[in-house]
Symmetry: C2
Subunit: 340 residues, 2 copies
């Protein structure tokens, strides 16, 4: 690997001048620039990112910290990542995923290293130890999701609006007995997962406001527990005609159990996936009606907020809430007349 010094010697200039053309940071005369360019080409020069980072105090790398060990990357998260990476690249940053166990310990060494200019944190808990570490590390960050602390920069889904939308849609179809299947994450560190808590609150409030009776069943994100959850819903309220599911991966189990019970979807009972994706919906049979999470937008706005912060063009922490989008599939329909 050729160094800047070798380029400078070959072009008969100082290394400072080479640096100016490599980074385009100061005007350089056309002739000098040309000499340097050919010298670089001949030597196959590539700037050393580590040395650059040490001298300039920045690496132009931003990282998405995600808890690899206990979660799955579905289409929603994938879209989020793809967009975040591409927006970062547009702004001249490299984007990496840093899988960290969900404990704050491991984070420290990475953050202290000076390797990262900024950090995006996802799957944020209402009370999240990792956020505290982030703050004390003094590395700039943005959250995907929110803690209870209202003063941090975040981008999140508006669960109030989303659940309202779901209930409006279903009551519009004549449904009155609407149950919620919420996600329960088996790991206790996830005890206060934001979407679950906020979604359930919004559901209960929305039901109450409509004079309806809420029924909530917790469910792990797998088809087997989806079966159990469906059974449980029908036991709690046999007149249920619609199920809202916040747990994407349990839906196949829910549908399968309903079918086994002899209920037709959507003729007898409707099922709607909340904060899900069309890709996931398409894996269901019948194709699921979903309120799609704004994954792409979250990804783009998340890195934008972070990089704006890094580059100082920002007034106060950005706090953005986005709605989900209703995509109607085959799994929802008018309430059966028996309960109309």
């Amino acid at each position: 690997m050729a160094t800047m010094r070798e380029v400078a010697e070959r072009a008969n200039v100082s290394i400072a001048t080479v640096s100016f053309v490599v980074n385009d940071t100061k005007p350089v005369s056309p002739e000098t620039r040309a000499r340097i360019m050919t010298a670089m080409a001949e030597l196959g020069y590539q700037r050393n990112a580590v040395a650059r980072a040490l001298a300039s105090h920045r690496t132009r790398i931003v990282a998405l910290l995600y808890p690899a060990l206990d979660h799955r990357i579905g289409p929603t998260v994938m879209k989020f990542i793809t967009e975040a990476a591409s927006v970062a690249r547009e702004r001249g940053y490299d984007f990496v995923l840093w899988p960290v166990a969900n404990d704050a310990e491991q984070m420290s060494s990475l953050l202290a290293g000076g390797l990262l200019d900024g950090v995006l944190l996802m799957e944020v808990q209402l009370d999240d130890a990792r956020v505290d570490r982030l703050i004390e590390s003094r590395v700039p960050f943005a959250l995907i999701g929110r803690t209870s602390d209202a003063n941090l920069p975040f981008v999140d889904i508006d669960f109030d609006a989303t659940l309202e939308q779901a209930l409006d849609y279903l009551t519009g179809l004549g449904h009155g007995h609407i149950a919620l299947v919420n996600e329960r994450i088996p790991d206790s560190t996830h005890y206060s997962d934001g979407p679950q808590v906020r979604g359930e609150l919004a559901y209960r409030e929305g039901m109450r406001a409509r004079g309806l009776v809420p029924h909530v069943v917790s469910c792990e994100g797998n088809p087997l527990d989806g079966r159990r959850a469906a059974t449980e819903v029908l036991r709690l309220e046999p007149r249920t005609t619609a199920i809202l599911s916040m747990t994407e991966l349990a839906v196949p189990g829910i549908l399968s159990e309903l079918r086994r019970t002899g209920l037709r979807v959507p003729a007898d009972i409707s099922v709607l996936g909340v904060s899900s994706s069309s890709e996931m919906g398409a894996l269901s049979d019948p194709v699921l009606t979903t309120l799609n999470a704004p994954a792409t937008e979250l990804g783009g706005l998340g890195v934008t907020a972070l990089i704006d912060q890094l580059e100082g063009n920002l007034a106060g922490p950005p706090q953005i809430l986005l709605d989900c989008t209703l995509v109607i599939g085959e799994s929802t329909g008018p309430a059966p007349t028996r309960s109309a």
Copy 2:
């Protein structure tokens, strides 16, 4: 952030000595060590990874390059990543995912930077431009999958053995008309995806060796195209009693279409997922019989091969082939008597 110099001053030693205790690279007297330790604790010292990298010519970071933009991360890839990250950590390395578009251009800047000690490349094509870049960058690497070039270090699935296993299992159940639904990736740069090519070859050879007639249908990885593929299979050979699917995400469409045609699974027709996962199988109804990809093993062996290479304890490029594991679900059964 406190520097090593500040620690040295406070402990009344040279920075060299601080370095020796931080890295545990040379013996230091107990008293001196103690003084340094307390100085570090009082100042909250954290070593600067960038400076360390510049001075020592290594970063202790290995990266998994993956083509984020055109693929989905399913449970199989997720398990792979999780294990790779955890093995890397055990060996004292940080592990990051670097999403890069599938063009070799973008890779160069990352590789040149000196930021990465080693690279793991997945979704390797039979003829892969990225591998050429990797070679010329002189950054050590290991492949998950193989090119046609037999002299590079790789870890891959043994598709010959896997397809043999699939055919043995199905013929053992009395099946004679067995079709293959292969994955077609809509992007032309993926033209020569290894698993597809090797899997199809092994299938054709296995069928021929058994005196059976092969039928292959290409299919994109989505339920809609799965429907079309199922129709196509039955058109090609109406007597088909078993389908091997290499395309994980199309399976729900295949099952759904078979059901619509009035065929019962597995009473009339069996379906087997090749190089898939139980998690994915569980999302199907009925639960899919799968030949599970050895994702965890691939992840562990992949980083091990890479790090062994980095640390020089290696004789020649490691080349490892692993089998899939048959997990019997509800989607396969004896061939119906009409074709026995």
